[in-house]
Symmetry: C2
Subunit: 408 residues, 2 copies
Amino acid sequence: MSAQWWEGERLDERRARAAWSALAEPGDLVAGALVASLGPVDALALVGVAARGGLHEAWAQVVGPGPDADGSSRSRDPRVERSVRRWAARFADLDVDADLGALAELGGMFVVPHDDAWPRGLDALGLAAPFGIWLRGAANLGVALHRAVALVGARASTSYGERVALELAAGVVDAGACVVSGGAYGIDAAAHRGALGRGGRTVVVLAGGVDRAYPAGNARMFEAVVGEGGALLAEVPPGRTPTKSRFLQRNRLIAAAASATVVVEAAWRSGAMSTAHHAARLLRPVGAVPGPVTSVASAGCHRLLREGSAVCVTDAAEVMDLAGLVGRDLADEPVVDARRGDELDPESARVLDALPRRTGADVAAVAARAGVTAYEAEAALGLLELRGLAARSGSGWRWLSASNGSGR
Amino acid sequence: MSAQWWEGERLDERRARAAWSALAEPGDLVAGALVASLGPVDALALVGVAARGGLHEAWAQVVGPGPDADGSSRSRDPRVERSVRRWAARFADLDVDADLGALAELGGMFVVPHDDAWPRGLDALGLAAPFGIWLRGAANLGVALHRAVALVGARASTSYGERVALELAAGVVDAGACVVSGGAYGIDAAAHRGALGRGGRTVVVLAGGVDRAYPAGNARMFEAVVGEGGALLAEVPPGRTPTKSRFLQRNRLIAAAASATVVVEAAWRSGAMSTAHHAARLLRPVGAVPGPVTSVASAGCHRLLREGSAVCVTDAAEVMDLAGLVGRDLADEPVVDARRGDELDPESARVLDALPRRTGADVAAVAARAGVTAYEAEAALGLLELRGLAARSGSGWRWLSASNGSGR
């Protein structure tokens, strides 16, 4: 098998990035630094030479003389050396064209920085940014993710959490934004279904290849996501399996792709919590949905709220407000009927309180009970009468119920 | 009837304060300022003279020449004049000895500042502090309230909220502190019952007189509170009815009496929210218990959390921590079993991920799958074997389940 494609050939940048996404594990900062410093093509050449020859030869050929005039100080950096050996060990199995071909067969595309489809939010990851995105679905992913909210949460969700995730996702797409989440059962799936149920767009960020429906039970949902103009994306090539470390690194992509991350339900320690912390590190807003304190599925959300790491969000308007994707007006205070007498001056309010409900009372009695002078009581009673809150009753006054008052 | 007790008599400070608590409505800042400036005895004399004669005569007799050398500027302050007229209107019905006698018959005591039983927390109210406290129960109220948490909430509570209030109250008294709340149905009652259920102390702050069981359905509970060493307290004399404004002012007493206020359930606008705002104004910590976002009974709590006015609290340890009544150690993070492999270095964790579950795989295959060198894989496998996480399988290695591993 092996690296015949490599013999005598320098890859273009896109294919070099595809190769890097196969060689280095997601989030590998040493790979990120090397690619940033040499460019993906030369960095890949370094690994290729190292795979066939020695590390010293690789440095000499690709990097040339280093800052110490003989390159030795750079070639001896133990962290880089160790990493290059690691990538070189995988080099023999590398087949970029097969990976790109597998994606093309699925109708997908490999997206790299500066492509229109590239989600600009990922750039905030710096050296931890993916080398490229293996994408199925929305060719205009970059545009879609310009207005996007991550709704994440536990696999071990409750029906309460799933219902909230569904409703928040529906509200997010109704507000013209895109949902982002993982592909797991529970909250992730409920969020995607909520978006799909409104004909909205949603993006599934996978830990394995985009050809791998993981978990398999969500395969049909993934197809629906692609069919509705959403997308499946991954930073590892097709065919790769999700591993624990890939799941953890996948979370940074979710956080970086969206304008804000909302945790719907999460245990005290969980992947959703890691996504929230990634978002916080990226200085993106983080929201948490509260739930019953008796529910362990909400413990992570409450922890975020308690630590001040997240803002309490209870509906889609608050989510959009958090993400800064709409003006504050969508998250207005709920309309509450002004209570009877709320807008009264203090004396009138006390007089209203002091009025008997059934029989009438004279002004002096009302004044004494309210703790105001008779003059103040008279003035207040006139005001209350005008507002339909008090009525004359014989020689005295009585309280008027709202239903009576509204009939006036 | 009337003010015969007054003729020719100067009341002692305690009786003068009792008189003021009958004359002025709770929270009357003008009364507070007058009493603070003249002392309760002279301030009462001012009202007594005003009730029988004119306001000008009252000022001349009691206050004497004011800052303008003729007292005119003070006597003409319209706000004070209006207030004195108001108190004077109530003066005729004042009967301090009858009020104190009614309390004594109930076995209660009237507590004033500098008494041992005086709750020092109330002093933070400044001019809005009550003139005295009409108290039934705990003679050592001041000591009891030295460690106290207010648990407040909606009358229209849910069974969820009541359960949480019960459990928080039980936890608060278990931690050696006292519960404070109003006397309403719903969360207030659940909090008191939770404390009583553990044989703990709880304090009911009433809006009407301490002889008035309001609501009547809680009468037996109020007696149990007194019987268990707790207390009923009010700032209006026995016999007085609770009014809307007295309920609102009562909330400031709850907030001031406790070291912290926790809202268990509250609608968007409610008395419990007013208590929380009083506590915040007094710079006392405020906690809010989250609940389902679908529950209007939790909307007020979520509002407090969202606005950053309250800290999210989910159990009694967090409540005590909020109140600063224990060291932080009681609100430790829940004990979570360290997950398998969580404490491993990154390479070993990846090797653990890469191990096949059933059949063995040789070191090179494991290394390639994990993305590490063969040397690193060998080192990691040795470590994992020592920890019972990996086992040799033929010439290769396989993953070891926790149950197998623990049997070693």
